[in-house]
């Protein structure tokens, strides 16, 4: 039996701008492929949304193995954005998701500003796509200098290009990197360029060295660190952005493992959350975390999730 959220008296619905969701728990890009595999374990139409793995214009093999190293309470990955390319993705993955009736947020990536625009253009009028997440912060690209999210101007250029190539009604979420001096500066820049919301955070750039070979463990040498180890960094980023931009929709992510972790994100200012690395440990995690969050709120006598969103900021108000 596929797991579905338990009935609850707590109102777990949430909003990201005009978009409404019955659950605040989404998959995280790169940790759920395009939903099909997880749908064996959970009914993916019952979670908030499926955020698909970042897709680029052309098919892409990704990096050589080893692509992964386990780290304390986390993992380092350097997949290198393996994927089928946007045409194949629309034909196979998006049509499946749309047929299922899953709410889909498509994550897109590009090697340059132009490619982002081209990929976005392909998504015009594709049924089932409710929003686009613009992955300007994948650390596993050819040139670390191309991580757009590390530079406010480059980040804005990408969002601009995507904005020009999609219908005005489709919300854009910019996915930000924590590897910056001031994440609020990047956040403000992409919002000004046309982002309707923010996905906070992508992985942190890291490295693991094999103590036998004395060489980096990943073929790409560096990789993105994820999992519970990075949660405090993610919470800090969500908190800072919420403080700087009180009304911007935020999808929070980074090491969410259970309902208590989710509540931290909501209190910091996230309107919804994405569950990533934890899905590798528990394929049912998105539904379980929804249930656990509802149970905790119920125990606290809180009737609606919306009551705790940004609660950590109330002392500053």
């Amino acid at each position: 039996m596929k797991r579905v959220p338990k009935r609850t008296t707590v109102d777990m619905s949430t909003k990201l701008g005009r978009l409404e969701f019955s659950s605040p728990v989404f998959t995280a890009s790169g940790c759920a492929a395009a939903g099909k595999e997880l749908d064996q374990f959970i009914d993916i139409t019952t979670i908030g949304a499926v955020v698909t793995k970042s897709v680029m214009l052309n098919p892409r093999s990704g990096r050589a193995t080893p692509r992964m190293a386990e780290t304390p309470s986390g993992m380092l990955n350097g997949i290198g954005l393996q994927g089928p390319g946007i045409d194949d993705f629309i034909q196979n993955d998006l049509s499946w998701l749309s047929q299922k009736g899953a709410k889909t947020i498509v994550s897109i990536a590009g090697n340059n500003v132009e490619e982002f625009g081209k990929v976005a253009d392909k998504l015009r009028d594709i049924p089932g796509v409710i929003a686009i997440e613009v992955n300007i912060s994948c650390p596993n690209v050819e040139n670390r200098g191309q991580v757009f999210a590390c530079d406010p101007y480059a980040a804005a250029d990408v969002i601009n290009s995507v904005r020009r190539n999609v219908s005005a009604s489709i919300p854009l979420f910019a996915k930000l990197s924590p590897d910056v001096t001031d994440i609020t500066e990047i956040a403000k820049s992409v919002v000004k360029a046309g982002a309707d919301g923010l996905s906070v955070i992508n992985t942190l750039l890291g490295m693991v060295i094999d103590t036998d070979t004395l060489l980096p463990k990943l073929s790409g040498k560096t990789g993105g660190l994820s999992g519970p180890a990075i949660r405090p960094v993610a919470i800090r980023c969500v908190y800072q952005i919420r403080k700087a931009l009180p009304n911007i929709p935020i999808i929070g992510m980074g090491g969410i493992r259970n309902g208590r972790d989710a509540i931290e994100f909501f209190a910091a200012g996230a309107n919804a959350i994405s569950v990533g690395t934890t899905v590798f440990n528990d394929p049912e995690a998105c539904v379980r975390i929804h249930d656990e969050t509802a149970e905790i709120l119920q125990e606290k006598g809180i009737r609606s999730l919306s009551e705790i969103i940004s609660a950590a900021h109330r002392e500053d108000l």
Partner: protein
Amino acid sequence: MPIVHKGTVVDVKKVGSYFVLTATAADIPKDFKPGNFVAVAIGDERSSLILRRAFSIYQVNDRGVYGGTVDIVVSPHGPGTDYIANLKRNDPINLVGPLGKPFSLPKDPVPCVLVGGGYGAAPLFTLAEALTARGCRVDFILGASTQEKLFGMLEARRISTTLSVTTDDGTSGVMGRVTDVLPDVIKKSGAAVVYACGPMQMLKAVSEVATLHGIVSQTSVEESMACGIGVCMTCVMPIIGEDGVTRMLRSCVDGPAFRGDKVRWDEVGTIPADTWGAPEIGGH
């Protein structure tokens, strides 16, 4: 359909250098086919080791005293496998399975050679039973570096027409590699298929011998996995498709059993230049 099962350990037995762990598994045995695996969580929901470890299913029992159970063979060689090997009866254990594409079975009752390297032999015993049930002759070859790293000798003898054993150091059977005896076993049995599970170098060598003899090989590969269910893209290998195009396929859902002649063994750990979507310059 695979399930997440919060089970308990029924038994852990030391067998040579290995541990055979039996765990309750609910309906996992009902859907099981030889070659499937389970992904085992390390520790509880607070554990700092969050990636599951994948194990070939060695045996299943779908209606024992404990309901469904599965057996896996563990070779402790790191914090995760050490944890599993040290589990005791009644300890909780969390399994996801059955996972992976099973071995393909021949349509006709043709002779088959099964080659196991060390505890890699684990999935071959249920395979041998399935083949025998189809009327296939089964010949076994077990190899390891040394005697105590051989796995399943008694069982292999019981369910096979012949059993050949090799060890690198000569402590049991023929001194040498499984591929030293494989050509002879293929000839004598008239084998049409070779099945193999074990270290990558062994699989490569077995696959080459099979190809040389003009017969098919099915190799069950071991790549490092993070999820086991097809979502993380960690366990990929360059595999030649039916259209002749090489793609980076996931060993967890497109495998772990691949046709040996379709795996680009020498290029595992690389992106061959003609791979679908390979980078033009530099890398990904």
